[in-house]
Amino acid sequence: MIHRECGVLKTTYEADMSLYPLPIARWTVGALAVLFFLVIPLTLHEYYLSVANLVWIAVIGALGLNILVGYTGQVSIGHGAFMSVGAYTAANLANRLDSPWPVNLLAGGLMAAAIGAIVGIPSLRIKGLYLAIATLAGQLIIEWIINHVTFISGGVQASIEVARPKLGAMVLSSQRDMYFFLLFFVVIAIVGTMNLIRSRIGRAFIAIRDRDIAAEIIGIDIFRYKLLAFAISSFYAGMTGVLYTYFLGIANYEQFQIGVSIDYLAMIIIGGLGSVLGSIFGAIFVTLLPIVIRLSMESFGGIFFTEATVLNLIPNLRLMLFGVLIIVFLVVEPEGLNRLWRNIRSYFRVWPFAY
């Protein structure tokens, strides 16, 4: 990740194919593991851990959306709705059947995958802009159905309370417990995505993104793979929804409205389309942005405005900054934070010796 390699000096196939090209790569991964599994959870305060948990949830969702948008090239503005499908599936199962969380998580993911594949069906005939609008319709229709069918939404204000997940006899009640719980799934999601992209399926996705007609000509069944991309991506989204429900302790459709779909699209645009590391950067960036704005407005906003207006202005300021950032990244650095990171890395490749 941060090692620098100078020249290709490998003499065996084993060395060429090895997971860690240099010993320092292994140490980096080890150091990151220590940082995320020990240092952060054991030193940070509950509030900061809850922020970290939000980031982890966003990372899973952003990875899923990047599989669809970044790797397969199919735009979706309906991911918020897929998350709500997962969330309500899990909440209903947990409350009606009292099923344990692994079952709910899997069922939520699979249900979202099924619905996502259905929403993805138009992708065979239409693409680009038309597909974006079709998924937008999917978002609005799913939202409406959840809101109006009491069997799903459970009546009052369409919200269902869900008990905290249990690990054996232990209830995961504190933010620290949730941190480890979520981190486990983040690691699975990251490793899963990286492997998926290197597999036959991932290569088919990338071929479809680059030129779908050409992909069809070389023998890729594009209908199958487009639906598969929608299903896998929605599976991630469903998992995100379930995890978010467990994190909040309540399933509510207002947490999954169109604004959420747009937030996730912004994550992968800002982070970098078609990159795992970019999804992570983007998720961190977009999740932290409103929190940083709120903190800084609370500290410094009083200089320019009165106390009451500051509170009213924060959401508007957040929206404006959010929009400006999306546009700036699109115009100036289309490959996102991932590209910036690579630029920094290649600058330090032979540092401090130039050539």
């Binding site: 948008v69 090239g73 735009v75 138009p122 005939r125 239409i126 680009g128 802009l129 038309y130 974006a132 609008i133 079709a134 937008l136 319709a137 999917g138 609005l140 229709i141 409406w144 809101n147 109006h148 030129r211 007609i213 050409a214 000509i217 747009i262 699209l265 912004a266 645009i269 389309l273 009213n312 202005l313 959401p315 508007n316 300021l317 957040r318 929206l319 404006m320 900054l321 959010f322 929009g323 400006v324 950032l325 999306i326 546009i327 699109l330 115009v331 289309p334």
Partner: protein
């Protein structure tokens, strides 16, 4: 005439009026798409910000109506040109997602800008119109809707003439058809891109004043923009007659669906029915009623 049929006629006439007002907003979208191939996901926010300027001028700064509405109009035209120059020119030739996301980002900026800079909360936008609806047999037609429908028709006809007959309109069609050939014919392509965005600004300013009067001006005014997509998909993305027909279909369908279905499901059909219709249209006729079919070659 039975009450049942009168109720149906009322829904129908209301749908036609509202539908024409949707057509007006959809026209802004179509004009931009036709000339520049860019998709404006911020059309609803354009309408909203025009409403904010007009209502802010009228209620906050105390300007007379003609000045407030004129200010909105001039402001939106300038905004259209500026936008094309600063943002969209840099995104020419980039994938669909880039333009979609850029306009979504623009929508976020406008949504924040209105309340942040102009005013917070909801402000009315009164127009000097009579309050009582015109009564024609079973029909009640509110004056604002009559005015809106009339203005929409006038503008649609005006833009139709502009594209078919005027020199500039023909140049714009050439730009839409093939940018390179248009350039070779000596047409200043970028200037026409700016003109298209400014035209979207004009119809948005008009839409902002009309819809702002009907709904009141706050950020929820932007939700009108969600109606644009069913309208343009049904009619065809690059067709002005399509915008009229699509607007009429959406207006009528949503009113009739709301009138007959709402009592059973507890509301919200108005926002839902046009999208169901749109999905069906996408399945069977993806390029709409009048849209240009795209043939892809490798």
């Amino acid at each position: 005439m039975s009450d049942e049929f009168g109720f149906f006629l009322l829904l129908l006439s209301n749908g036609v009026m509202i539908g024409l007002m949707y057509s007006l907003i959809a026209l802004g979208f179509v004009l931009v798409y036709k000339a520049t191939d860019a998709i404006n996901f911020a059309q609803g926010e354009f309408v909203m910000i025009a409403g904010f300027v007009a209502a802010g001028g009228l209620m906050v700064w105390g300007a007379p109506l003609w000045l407030a509405a004129g200010g909105a109009l001039v402001g939106m035209i300038a905004f259209g040109f500026l936008l094309e120059r600063v943002m969209l020119r840099k995104l020419i030739g980039r994938p669909v997602i880039a333009v979609v996301m850029a306009t979504i980002g623009l929508a976020a900026i406008l949504r924040g800008f209105g309340p942040f800079v102009i005013f917070q909360g909801t402000k009315p936008l009164p127009l000097p119109l009579p309050d009582e609806p015109f009564i024609l047999g079973p029909l009640f037609i509110p004056p604002i809707q009559a005015l809106g429908a009339g203005l929409s028709l006038a503008f649609l006809a005006g833009f139709g003439w502009f594209f078919l007959k005027s020199r500039k309109g023909i140049a714009m069609r050439a730009v839409a058809d093939n940018q390179q050939v248009a350039m070779a014919m000596g047409i200043h392509v970028e200037r026409y891109f700016g003109v298209a965005w400014a035209m979207a600004g004009i119809v948005s300013a008009l839409g902002g004043v009309l819809w702002g009067n009907m709904l009141g001006v706050d950020t929820n005014l932007a939700l009108v923009g969600f109606k644009v997509f069913p309208v343009v998909i049904l009619g065809g993305l690059d067709s002005i007659p399509g915008a009229i027909i699509g607007g009429l279909i959406v207006g009528i369908v949503e009113n009739i669906a709301a009138g007959y279905v709402d009592p059973y499901v507890g509301g919200g059909t108005k926002d839902f029915a046009p999208y169901v219709l749109m999905i069906m249209a996408l399945m069977f006729r993806p390029y709409g009623i009048f849209g240009k079919k795209i043939i892809e070659r490798i």
